[in-house]
Symmetry: C2
Subunit: 340 residues, 2 copies
């Protein structure tokens, strides 16, 4: 039998336990050119909450459909060339124990939304699960926004929200290596301490502190040259007021939106004019062709402990809904990975 978690009903604002249903179904069977995969690790990411409401750009989940998610798995049956039993693969398996997938043709880059199983070539000295976080979609998102778009230079003050998540932590550490002064924004003193002590940020401000905007300004005495934002809303508003002249802002996500019942108004935009700022939107799918380049450069840094992303591991399919709910409330601490 195959256990899986499906969407019980279209989610409202933040996901709640009643949105999910665990079910057991017959073991799927691979057709010609396909493999049966045992799912080992599933990535939990904020975008998933949007798909549960039917409004993410990667597509919505139909009621009764398996909750989506990138995964690392192991081939247990193969009916095609290119993948053999025991091979480790990456695929969009979703929240289930087993899945059937097409075999991705060798040497052909798969798009970010491809459901085909791709054989993992693991860079030296890194873990399989890093391919779901610091060396996967979140890491590439950080790379694209930091290295390709914001391009911090020595002397820049670089601010990043959700600073201990896999995107923010990678963005901040890359900016630090590019010579910037890096200031994080995170929820709670524990995360802030981690950002400074472990990730090597110059400062980190707790956005749960009522005075956080004043503390951010104090931590950025030369104003903010680059802002990498995955949160939007009041966090973005607080940062915009302290931009430097000619500042660059990348918007990569609107975490606050994902939990709201309807689209929220944005921050006041006068500072964009006042500071002659440039604001750009980032969708990681556009940067997929850069994945090999990104991995080639960042994997050695991960191996050597120069780029760190903390993982929070959650055990068992049954724990997935609560873990996603916690992720959406900022109650996680680091990249969330579900071990099946």
């Amino acid at each position: 039998m195959n256990k899986r978690i499906v969407l019980a009903r279209l989610a409202g604002s933040s996901p709640v336990p009643e949105d999910f249903r665990l079910e057991e179904v017959a073991m799927p069977s691979p057709g010609p050119g396909q493999v049966l995969i045992r799912v080992d690790h599933v990535s939990l990411d904020p975008y998933i909450a949007s798909t549960l409401r039917g409004r993410h750009m990667s597509g919505g989940v139909p009621v009764g459909g398996v909750i989506p998610g990138e995964a690392v798995g192991t081939v247990v049956e193969s009916r095609g060339d290119g993948l053999a039993v025991g091979d480790r693969v990456i695929c969009r398996a979703g929240w289930q124990q087993f899945t059937v997938a097409d075999i991705a043709p060798a040497g052909v880059a798969q798009g970010p939304l491809s459901l085909a199983a791709q054989k993992i070539t693991l860079p030296d000295g890194v873990s399989y699960t890093s391919l779901l976080g610091v060396l996967g979609m979140p890491g590439l998102t950080a790379w694209a926004g930091t290295v390709k778009m914001l391009k911090p230079i020595p002397g820049d003050t670089f601010v990043v929200s959700a600073a201990t998540g896999p995107v923010g932590a990678t963005a901040g550490q890359l900016a630090k290596r590019m010579g910037a002064r890096v200031v994080g924004i995170a929820g709670g003193p524990q995360k802030c301490a981690f950002a400074v002590e472990t990730l090597g940020f110059d400062a980190c401000v707790d956005h749960r502190d009522p005075d956080w905007v004043a503390k951010l300004a104090a931590a950025c005495p030369d104003s903010i040259d680059c802002y990498y934002d995955g949160v939007g809303g009041r966090i973005l508003e607080g940062v915009l007021g302290h931009l430097a002249l000619g500042a660059r802002v990348v918007l990569v996500g609107m975490m606050e939106q994902y939990k709201a019942p309807a689209p929220l108004p944005g921050p006041n935009l006068v500072p964009i004019i006042k500071f002659r700022a440039t604001v750009e939107g980032l969708v990681v799918y556009d940067h997929w062709p850069d994945m090999p380049n990104f991995r080639r450069r960042v994997a050695p840094l991960v191996r050597d402990g120069q780029v760190i992303v903390r993982e929070e591991r959650v055990a068992g399919l049954e724990a997935a809904p609560d873990a996603l709910i916690r992720l959406m409330d900022g109650g996680n601490f680091g990249k969330m990975v579900l071990d099946i």
Copy 2:
């Protein structure tokens, strides 16, 4: 005696008649190196309303201070070299019949906030008042945002708000000459007809129509590649939803803000991510060094009727407060010039 209009009290949201006071004072007297100027034409612009609340970046007006404004005048007494009686000058005279000003040194470009009087070298075949509109600060604002920042190319759909004002009308006509398809947004059928029939825009949508967003989308079947915005708020929100992938947006003003008692929330920013848009803020002061280049290129187009800006002339200092109030409500039609 010199008549002038001063700020009677710090303005609240939109200016009201009680914010202004007409007073008569002794005729000012030029010192060495100064001239006495008879003010002929004063430019009425939206930024003035912000100064009355003490919060424009050019500085606020103190209570009792003369309401600011760029002006064209005539030298009636000179106590320095470089300007003689009868010379026409441009200066920041404000709302008064006479003013005293330093003589700007010959051949030295004056900054946008300089109070010195600069001798006018009038390009062939244009009017003095065009230097306050299509060939002045509003025109340069349009030039900077369109030619230097948005850079529309043939095939682009270029949308501009406040389409019949001196900024919007110039921006749209420049974009048209650069090969774009130009769609205006304006208040009322008369302005929309003018934008299409006289300015040569491809379409113009009346934002007072409750269905204006749907009509904008219909007028932009290939989505919106460039958006030049001086309004912000609900107009910006409506446009953002119909951007093309990789769209560019320039924010040059927030007309809606200028009338509000407190800073307003902005539009939802998810479309910036969804469409991978780039949003930039424009302050015309940064582009002042480009004024000669802009005038050299655009003055012949104005002379030949290829770039048109409609003027609305208002007569007499006493009429200025109502004219500014009307401007802030969109009740004007074209560039507002006060004839003293």
